[in-house]
Symmetry: C2
Amino acid sequence: MIRSLGVGLAGFGTVGAGVFESLQKQQKLIEERSGFSFQVRGIAIRDPQKQRKQFLPPSLLRRSWRDLLRDPHTQIVVELMGGTTDAFELIKGALQSRRIVVTGNKALLAERGEEIFALAQEFRTPVFYEAAVAGGIPIIQSLRDSFVSNHIESIHGILNGTTNYILSCMQEEGMEYNQALDQAKALGYVEADPTLDLSGWDAAHKALILAALAYGFWVSPQDIRVEGIEKVSAADILFAKNFGYTIKLLARIRASSDGIIEIGVSPTLIPMKSILASVSGVFNAIAIKGDLVGESLFYGRGAGARPTASSVIGDLVTAAQNFHLHLSSERTSCPIGFSSHTLYGKSRLAEEIISSYYLRFTVEDQPGVLSMITTIFGQYGISISSLVQPESRVDRKTSLVFMIHRAPYGLIQSALEQVRTLSCVKSEPILFNVEM
Amino acid sequence: MIRSLGVGLAGFGTVGAGVFESLQKQQKLIEERSGFSFQVRGIAIRDPQKQRKQFLPPSLLRRSWRDLLRDPHTQIVVELMGGTTDAFELIKGALQSRRIVVTGNKALLAERGEEIFALAQEFRTPVFYEAAVAGGIPIIQSLRDSFVSNHIESIHGILNGTTNYILSCMQEEGMEYNQALDQAKALGYVEADPTLDLSGWDAAHKALILAALAYGFWVSPQDIRVEGIEKVSAADILFAKNFGYTIKLLARIRASSDGIIEIGVSPTLIPMKSILASVSGVFNAIAIKGDLVGESLFYGRGAGARPTASSVIGDLVTAAQNFHLHLSSERTSCPIGFSSHTLYGKSRLAEEIISSYYLRFTVEDQPGVLSMITTIFGQYGISISSLVQPESRVDRKTSLVFMIHRAPYGLIQSALEQVRTLSCVKSEPILFNVEM
């Protein structure tokens, strides 16, 4: 027996259109496997005049997301409209009217996840969000359900395909940043506004969601250090390679031994031999270390209409399975998609997080320069593990590249402020984290 | 509010003891995250006299698995006793009495999965089995739930840690098979009876379960080709390396374009550059290609007390979430853990499966040998893509190594039968699949 559920779809961009198309194309398979059939009852869009690749049946077109909540036969609301204001109102309205929510909105969850799950809790109505992190990779379900008995020691993720594609081009083909960015644009891997991707914030939103799932509380986006890939140059890629590393935009989430959570996103040198180093192109990967499960890794496409639709439909089926439970008198055992817990609850200030570093300056090629810089490092107790001064010099300038032992980020920043005042230092320092 | 559920545990070997220990050690975390508390109400063991590393509280000791079914407060039965007769009876009894089943028994599911899920269907009571395939890797849940909307094009898996450890030693340290096996034994990576692992059957059982999930029907273990790693030698590893490949015990599951399913497990040459090639030591990995999600890969520990316990407890929480649904009048929407479907339903005979091959013989080092062999290949329409005859020879014998273009396995076998009759051929042919 096939049970039918009504779906209201908000947003008809790449992912929304992909979900609509996939629900139709894979309908038979979904019904056979799950026993559920999903009827899209309305599609809310912002601009009805907009040219669209995908046909939107006029009978389904809704001018406002509010219309989706007016349909009594819509039991599940799929929010793929983006933004953090209307999308929040839609989700709020859905939960208040006891409609299960499926969303792919990473920015909204990272910024207002706490409010959203408080509403989910209040109305005992679940919110599913597999599509919000790493497209087609089932990382939310795995972390939430499969690893439920694990203290999560760390999560390391390549969470943004656009930037990983750019860095891969630089790594594998020796391109400069702008050349790689142009190639990514030509292949359609770059959004109309690439700021969120390139600045690291898209990855950071995903990292904040993973951290919340792993540790049971939400860290504010303001409280973490996020750096994009704009400063990575072909020179850095080459120096890193000579040290045995590749550079990835890495999200790092870690519970340190004192129980405080550390989160950060920045270009990071990772050993060429590590499995994350082999993740190239638009692919995403997430390495999780749990106290029971040990090391595990999930790899796949982190974006795109079809991979993301796959995750949305996976959530729809889970929503459907929960639907009767959610309506029944046993509602309290219906999981809401997130659980607050109290084992941890503090995140470390960015400047107090300890890491190893890669550091490069351009300096004047004259005697005493190295001594001046290392003297400053010494005064701050910063210890150098390796140093390279390459032969090549241009206009009497040369690069100095340091690998620096573990130290708090704030301490490095203070030392660099003083180094900057030296007249022999001719460039902004380039500082990246190093993971072992 | 924490809800408590009673668990009956059958088996107290490595995994059973790991589950018992982890349920106690991680109790607070599990309760906070899931809202459920699991009370082990009885532990059934075969031999009460056996020396055990882990303390088994005498009050919980049950002499027979039947005792677990006599306890009215046991709602979930965890079957980790192994074997396919008593274990089947226990699962049958549990389902008949509407107790949810969690099992890690790959051999039982591979051999009698069809019967077990018919019972699950009849009594609308779910069976969960994450621990049966690839230890701590959440591959069952991902394939069953997250990828529900995907036609699965192929699954390639390294599904046995023992054999992967042995092959990794051979690959990375140039060891011979027996030397690597001894090292694996010394490290505790080899079971008392290693036959299932070394023969490829442990991996094959897991492959049959994955295939059933992907395609909705059960293929009989008798109908697939399974080869172990016993014939892999240091020489083969070296020849493969020179061709740009590494040798892995690979489970291959594929839906071919005519909709027929192909399943096989054997030592297989895979390109050194592929991500599966970088899976070394006791780790497992599964690469899945779905029509929506594209390529994805799951990597982690495939065995061991704690990783497997992590999967069992993940299943317990899912079981608990389903528990009230399963009891309610809405029981028909409670998923039973497997869905038969009818899109496919046929598996291809082993001899009709087409692959590329690596083939090595020892032959007499005399003129005309190569011509005799290639003439036979020619008669069968078998095409050679590459050939190596190394310089080294011993006792006037030499190796001939062929890379062979795609051909049905049966055709290769027929040709080899004829090659074997040549007096210049001095060894059994070594034949491995090659994946591109």
